[in-house]
Symmetry: C2
Subunit: 230 residues, 2 copies
DNA sequence: CTATTGAGATGATATATATCATCTCGCTTT
DNA sequence: AAAGCGAGATGATATATATCATCTCAATAG
C-alpha cells in the first residue's frame, strides 16, 4: 500500500450497491469493519499477484484496472467509478489479485474486512444473489471488451474507447480524457503511435473535435457505426 | 432446443459441485426440479441472445462454448467437461445468453430449474459462496485466454491450445483433437490456414507428432516455452 | 536559466498473418 | 459409379499495424 495514501475514519456511506437489502445489524457489522483510504493520482491500490486482503469499493475518484505482462505489455481492462467494487472477481476467485489497480485521479476507496463481508453474504441470500449478479455482469463486460479487441480492427477499437468514455464514464459526448495516449492505447489494445494516428484521422474526418485531452464527439452516428462494423 | 435431443428421467447424480454442502431437502428439491437431456454431436444446446431458462450442468460428453459475431467471425471460448456449469455467468448476469453452446460429442446435460436453484442459494450461504467462487474462476479463466489471444503471437497461441487439451481437457500429452482445424483456429483466435501452417511447423520441428487429429506432444518443455514467450 | 525528460505527433519501413487460389482426399449424395 | 462437397494442406500475395526514427513542445529538475 502506498505511503501517500491516508486513512480516514469515515464509513463507506451510501456507495455500497444493494445496501437496502441489508438489515441494521449487517450494516453496522460492515461499518465497524471498514475504513476509507485516499489515494493520490498514480498511487498503486493493489498489485497483480499479491494476495487479496479486503473487499474494495470505490467511494470517489477514478481507478484503472490493468493486467501487466512481462516486457511492458500491459492491458488496461477498465476504469472503476464510484459505487463499483474493484478486484471482486479475484477476491471471490482464487484470492490472488489477477490484475493491478492504480488511481487515475484522487480516489477514496472503502476497504471492508473480507470475513465480515462473507458473514453478511452467508446470512443474507438476497444480497448474495445480487453480488453474484454484479460479478457476472462485470465478467461479461470485460469479456466483451476483450472480444472486441481480438476481433475488431483499429478504427472500431478506437471508436469503442470513445464510446466507453462518452457512455459509461462521463455519460456525455464532450469530455476530457483522463489518460495519456499510451494508456488509451492500452485500453484499445494497440500502440501509442497507432492510437494517435487513428484518433488524428477521426479528427481530420471531422468525426470528433480534438485538442489535447479534450474530446467532443461531433458525429455520434459515425462513431457508433465504426464500432459496429469493426 | 434441438429435436434430436432426448429427455431422460435420470437425476443429475454426483456431478454437481459442492453437493456435500447441501442438506437432504435441498438435494431433493433440486432433483425434483431437474432432468437430464442428451445431445448428439453438433446439436445446439443454447443460442446466443436467447433468454436463459435453466441452470445447466455437464453430466457427460463435451460441449463447445462460443461467441458468434456477424460475418462468420466466431470465437471459441472454451470446452465444457463433466461437472462444469455452462452459461452460468449469463444466467446470473443479465439473463440473456451471451454466447452459444453446441455438443462436440454425445453429451448429457442436467437442466435445473432456476427458481429452485436460487432458493437453495438463498438459504445456503456456504453453497452460495462456493458458486461465487466458481463463477469468478470461470471469469478469470476466459479472461486469461482472451488476453493471451490479444497479446501473444501465433506460435504462442497455438502452444496454448495444445496445452489446453493436454492439461485441462485430457490431462495427458497424447490425445485426439475433438475439433476441426477451423474450430481449433477459432480457439486460437486465428484462421484455419494460419493454424494449419503453424501446427505443421511444430510437426516439422519435431515438437509434436501429428497425424490427422492425433497429437502427441514430444517436447512439453518447448511447447511451454513457446506459450510463455508468446 | 539552461538542461533534461516525457508526451504527443508524424513519416518510413518491417513483418506477421489474413486472404485468395488451388489441389488432394475421403465421404456423402444421387 | 459419378458427382459434389467439405476438411486438410500449401503457395502466392496483400495489408493492417507494429516498430523505429525523428521532431516539437511543455513541464520538471538541477
Amino acid at each position: 500500500m502506498n505511503l501517500s495514501a491516508s486513512i480516514s475514519g469515515l464509513p463507506c456511506g451510501q456507495q455500497m450497491p444493494y445496501l437496502q437489502l441489508l438489515n441494521k445489524e449487517q450494516i453496522e457489522l460492515l461499518q465497524r469493519n471498514s475504513n476509507v483510504v485516499s489515494y493520490n493520482k498514480k498511487d498503486i491500490v493493489f498489485r497483480q499477484n499479491t494476495r487479496t486482503s479486503h473487499i474494495m469499493l470505490m467511494v470517489s475518484g477514478l481507478v484503472k484496472i490493468f493486467k501487466e505482462g512481462r516486457s511492458e505489455r500491459t492491458v488496461l481492462l477498465r476504469l472503476a467509478t464510484p459505487g463499483e467494487y474493484i478486484g471482486m472477481m479475484s477476491v471471490m476467485g482464487d484470492q490472488i489479485h489477477q490484475y493491478s489497480a492504480t488511481a487515475v485521479e484522487l480516489a477514496d476507496i472503502c476497504f471492508i474486512d473480507i470475513n465480515a463481508y462473507r458473514n453478511v453474504l452467508m446470512e443474507n441470500g438476497k444480497f448474495s444473489l445480487q453480488l453474484m449478479n454484479l460479478i457476472s455482469k462485470d465478467g461479461l463486460f470485460i469479456f466483451n471488451r476483450l472480444m472486441n479487441q481480438t476481433h475488431k480492427q483499429l478504427p472500431g477499437r478506437i471508436a469503442d474507447v470513445l464510446l466507453y468514455f462518452a457512455e459509461q464514464i462521463y455519460k456525455q459526448p464532450h469530455f476530457d480524457l483522463p489518460l495519456t495516449r499510451r494508456e488509451l492505447a492500452e485500453l484499445a489494445g494497440t500502440t501509442k503511435e497507432s492510437f494517435i494516428r487513428t484518433l488524428t484521422e477521426f479528427k481530420n474526418d471531422k468525426i470528433i473535435y480534438l485538442d489535447g485531452s479534450r474530446v467532443e464527439i461531433i458525429s455520434m452516428d459515425i462513431v457508433k457505426t465504426l464500432s459496429e462494423l469493426g
